[in-house]
């Protein structure tokens, strides 16, 4: 948490340099957020890919592209059931392989500052020989895609319930039996050498891959501008909004309204854009909430509401891991905090909420009230403003910001 807050200020813009690894690890956590917990599939695949790439002595830049792509290789998988199938079952159905590779590549194209990644993701289920959803085979498949394919299938074979070293023989037999058909035989050979090291497997067991990836990530520090950051936020918003038709327009609504308010308060173009980015990120943690709860038609039980309440905690936790985001983590994650300290989950009050966080709170309330929810239709704008007025009078929302919103309507 921040140590000192200047409440009368918007907050800080992001730095001009960041580690791509940190941005992508946050994206990978968003992908791996499952009902109630964050799994590590993407990071584990990225670690295996990194080990293979280092053994192959690839160039630094090639390794970076490969590992970054590995972190988001499953961007195209839409629901939990399909994720389960793709990540835990060794043989992925052709239809599922094709659909998620195509969609993943399409989404990755949004990251136009990293133009190579879309291709790597497109080919990550391509077999070395045999049937693919197009005719590309063998060396025509990008090397990075071949490495991710192998790493991904190795990860899918690991059973978290069984002692990992007791699984190595079986995993290696299975992988070798697909050498030349599914996998590039050269890569299988290379991997056989890596697999002899107990330490490779134990790094997976004790989650040492987190610090290995952290160390690798120091090499990925580059110039990032707001446009690059916005393309990442755009993907995150897409992931959140695709969970349910009821959330499908929420992130964009909050981002658009928040940027407008920032504008009307006289802040710069850069500041408006940074707030919009925070708006696109604000519900990142919603990915931890099971769709059944998001789509429940009746009022939530107390237990279900507790599950929902975690979402801003996760938004903060995931964004705050990225160094150099300026105030974006606070702007995005404090939207359920209230000036009188009755919000959640940090229970902070006005003296710790800068203008950006206050803008996000007002925008989120307004957008939420004026959209359909499974348990109620959208409120009219007049009714929503009435509720916002009373929240302002109870000293929960910022009066000046509420006035700016009303004036814009």
């Amino acid at each position: 948490m921040q140590t000192k807050i200047e409440v009368n200020k918007l907050g800080n813009l992001p730095d001009s340099k960041m580690r791509l690894s940190e941005l992508f690890i946050t994206l990978s956590s968003a992908l791996d957020m499952d009902n109630y917990e964050i799994l590590d599939h993407s990071r584990r695949v990225a670690y295996i890919a990194l080990e293979i790439a280092e053994m192959l002595e690839l160039e630094k830049e090639e390794i970076n592209q490969l590992v970054l792509a590995a972190l988001i290789h499953d961007l195209g998988i839409v629901d939990t059931e399909k994720k389960e199938k793709a990540q835990n079952i060794f043989q992925v159905e052709l239809g599922l392989a094709e659909s998620h590779c195509r969609l993943g590549a399409e989404l990755t194209e949004k990251l136009n500052f990293m133009p190579q990644l879309a291709d790597i993701i497109y080919f990550h289920h391509h077999n070395w020989s045999g049937s693919n959803f197009d005719r590309v085979q063998g060396n025509a498949i990008p090397l990075a895609s071949r490495i991710i394919h192998l790493s991904d299938r190795i990860e899918a074979l690991i059973d978290s319930e069984t002692f990992i070293l007791n699984q190595v023989d079986h995993i290696m037999e299975t992988i070798k039996s697909r050498s030349g058909s599914w996998f590039d035989p050269e890569l299988v050979k290379i991997f056989s050498v890596i697999a002899e090291k107990e330490s490779f497997w134990l790094n997976l067991k004790v989650k040492e891959y987190n610090s290995i990836l952290e160390k690798w990530g120091r090499r990925t520090r580059v110039k990032i501008d707001l446009s690059d950051l916005e393309s990442i936020a755009s993907i995150v918003a897409h992931l959140i909004d695709r969970v349910s038709p009821f959330t499908s327009r929420h992130s964009t609504g909050v981002a658009t309204i928040a940027a407008m308010i920032t504008h009307e308060l006289g802040y710069s173009y850069q500041q408006q854009r940074a707030i919009r980015i925070a708006g696109l990120f604000h519900d990142l943690g919603k990915l931890i909430v099971p769709a059944e709860i998001i789509e429940k038609e009746a009022e939530l039980t107390a237990a279900e509401f507790k599950v929902v309440k975690q979402h801003t905690f996760y938004t903060y936790r995931l964004l705050n891991k990225i160094q150099g985001l300026g105030s974006i983590p606070e702007w995005a994650a404090f939207h359920h905090e209230r000036l009188d300290g009755t919000g959640y989950p940090f229970r902070i009050s006005g003296d710790q909420l800068n203008t950006g966080s206050r803008i996000m709170a007002v925008s989120d309330v307004f957008q939420a009230l004026t959209e359909d929810r499974p348990y109620r239709p959208a409120f009219s704008i007049a009714k929503a403003l009435g509720i916002i007025d009373s929240m302002e009078q109870e000293a929960k929302l910022d009066a000046e910001i509420v006035a700016v919103l009303k004036n814009a309507i």
Binding site: D241, S251, T252, H263, Y269, R273, I381, I409
Partner: protein, 103 residues
């Protein structure tokens, strides 16, 4: 901001703004839209063929206007977006999923 209004019939109207929709004129656009809103048009079409850019204030006002129209079972449609900058921005923030954008 210059703009042209073409009434198609009692239900539909087309507005064609010209140039940049920004801080200096988004209030004008809002006033114009509100005027049409009061006249109960069900379908308000914004022709963007001569719009070069739009800022946060303009985008926010379009979204708010979309909400108002929707409340009366009306619809806001943006048509003929020529500027790649505007197209990309709508896609980037997913506003094209909220406001109908016609080719």
């Amino acid at each position: 901001m210059e703009s042209k209004t073409d009434v198609i019939n009692s239900e539909q109207v087309v507005i064609s703004p010209v140039g940049n929709i920004d801080f200096s004129n988004s209030q004008d656009l809002k006033d114009k839209l509100l005027e049409l809103f009061k006249k109960d048009y069900k379908k308000v079409i914004l022709d963007f063929s001569e719009v070069e850019s739009i800022d946060s204030s303009g985008l926010g006002k379009l979204l708010l206007f979309h909400k108002k129209l929707k409340e009366k079972e009306g619809k806001l449609i943006i048509r003929n977006v020529e500027s790649d900058y505007i197209k990309n921005m709508f896609e980037m923030i997913h506003l094209n999923k909220v406001i109908t954008i016609e080719e």
